[in-house]
């Protein structure tokens, strides 16, 4: 446990020190929120809506987006450690690979949840109604699960990558599709029928719907189903990430 804490502590120190990274990675989700939210608010009518407007519908999706990108990025950061040699320092220490992987995941998930929370707070100022305490807690639970799930996913990817060259590829062909096919920007039901199975195997879909349930009280998928599906995906990702990281060489 203290090893996981040690790695987590390092992630936190680095995160808090890189002010530009905090602000920088808030930029994209925030502008998505502003552009789409305000731009489409008047135009879009959510089918079967229970009173929320498009901006409010969008907020959980954008929070999920912030958590997704930050967590995947934190996981992939292991490649930087590899390139700048720091990974050797941890790998040659008398600790298990699993502890290192879990520590890195914990650190990545925490920074991701903080980024998501910052978007959540910003959203309160632009029209998201203040949810109940319970709703907040539910939203945070789902944000945490997304964070852990995709930080582990990032580590799994990083374990298979030699250097940062593939980063753009991963971002454009893996992470963006995951985001796009998650119901973050539009209701899943409005997608063509053949795409819907894709969204249903996407763990992020359950995260978005879970956060939506917490903040707005409605969701396209029952919250308990979301919790079960996302929880199971998270466990799978940790197992896969730990397995691949164990095999990774420096």
């Amino acid at each position: 446990m203290d090893i996981i804490y040690t790695l987590w502590l390092r992630s936190m120190k680095r995160y808090l020190r890189s002010k530009s990274r905090i602000v920088g990675s808030l930029g994209m989700p925030f502008f998505f929120l502003l552009a789409l939210g305000f731009g489409l608010n008047e135009v879009v009518q959510i089918p079967g809506s229970t009173g929320e407007n498009y901006l409010q519908f969008l907020v959980p999706g954008i929070i999920a987006m912030a958590v997704l990108f930050t967590s995947v990025f934190s996981g992939i950061m292991i490649i930087w450690d590899k390139q700048f040699g720091f990974l050797k320092e941890t790998l040659v220490a008398p600790v298990s690979r699993l502890e290192i992987m879990l520590g890195q995941t914990a650190g990545g998930a925490t920074t991701a949840v903080i980024q998501g929370a910052l978007i959540l707070v910003l959203s309160l100022f632009i029209g998201l109604g203040i949810p109940t305490v319970q709703g907040f807690l539910i939203a945070f639970l789902f944000m945490t699960l997304i964070g852990i799930c995709f930080a582990a996913f990032g580590i799994a990817i990083a374990s298979k990558m030699e250097d940062m060259h593939g980063f753009q590829l991963i971002m454009n062909f893996v992470i963006f599709p995951i985001f796009g096919l998650s119901g973050a920007l539009f209701p899943i039901a409005s997608l063509p029928e053949w795409v819907i199975p894709l969204t249903l195997v996407n763990p992020l879909t359950y995260g978005v719907e879970g956060i939506r349930y917490g903040l707005l009280g409605t969701s396209a998928i029952p919250p308990l189903v979301c919790l079960a599906a996302l929880g199971a995906s998270t466990v799978v990702m940790i197992v896969v990430g730990a397995f691949l990281f164990r095999k990774a060489s420096v």
């Binding site: 890189s18 700048f84 040699g85 050797k88 320092e89 941890t90 220490a93």
Partner: protein, 332 residues
Amino acid sequence: MVESKNMAAVLVDGLTKRFGDFTAVDAISFEIKEGEIFGLLGPNGAGKTTAISMLSTLLEPTSGRALLNGIDIQNDQDGVRKAIGIVFQDQSLDEELTAWENMDFHGRLYRIPKVIREARIGEMLRLVELEDRQDSLVKTFSGGMRRRLEIARGLLHEPSVLFLDEPTLGLDPQTRNHLWEYIRNLNRRKGITIILTTHYMDEADRLCNRVAIIDRGRIVAMDTPANLKNRVGEDVVSITSPDADRIAGGITAPWILGAEQYDGQVIIRLQSAEDHLLELLRIIGGEGYTIRSISIRKPTLEDAFLHYTGREMRQEEAGAVDRMRMMMPRRN
């Protein structure tokens, strides 16, 4: 396990590493006594770093066996890891953390209790004279400071064997001298066994009690630096002269092993220069050639390397691993 006072700190037996068809380390064997400074000397790509990686459990050997303080590197990885400290060839510090934080991270990874950890970090930072910079971010450090910090970090958990992989690579001469001083002091004061790899001849010569010359994955010679040099058996006399080419072309004697002319200089290889110098001058003077200056050079480890491998070290091509490393972005 029977612990004996005279147990070898490191015992390597037939250690081999193959990457596909390429044999990086080819059945090397050696034994290092406790408190010794042992050098692995060889050109880039000779297999030094691969050997160190295996001994420090970062790489699985293809075959062979190695014991560190009697602990098998394959059966008890954590046991070995606790017993060794290592300074890698490439920097392995977190630049976004301070010197103290890098040390603290290391101390926590090695599960050193807080009170001891903090006392020892202070002590180690004083040892490498970085205590007044302990709260500065590592990215503000110079190359020499980083190296010293890495050495301090490698010593934090009080290892009995310290690995230094090319410890002075890329440092300026003054810093190198300084570091050598540290390394010698460490060895003397703490009795730590030190294994260092280097491709600097003078480094191996000045620091090591014993040196193994490693070439293309094999140990071709192993002895004290003095013995390695003596076994070369030839000295070098360099003469600067306007008649250099004629001297080189015409000079013969039973004890002269060869003569070459290079840029107005004659390089004569011969047996025991002290005994034959006068005779040599008599031969050259007798022909009426002018001598501007003359110098005698005893063999260096560079000559020893040439002797044992048939090749000059600096002409060595970079090995596969180094070529890869060169392609990667480097920060210094």
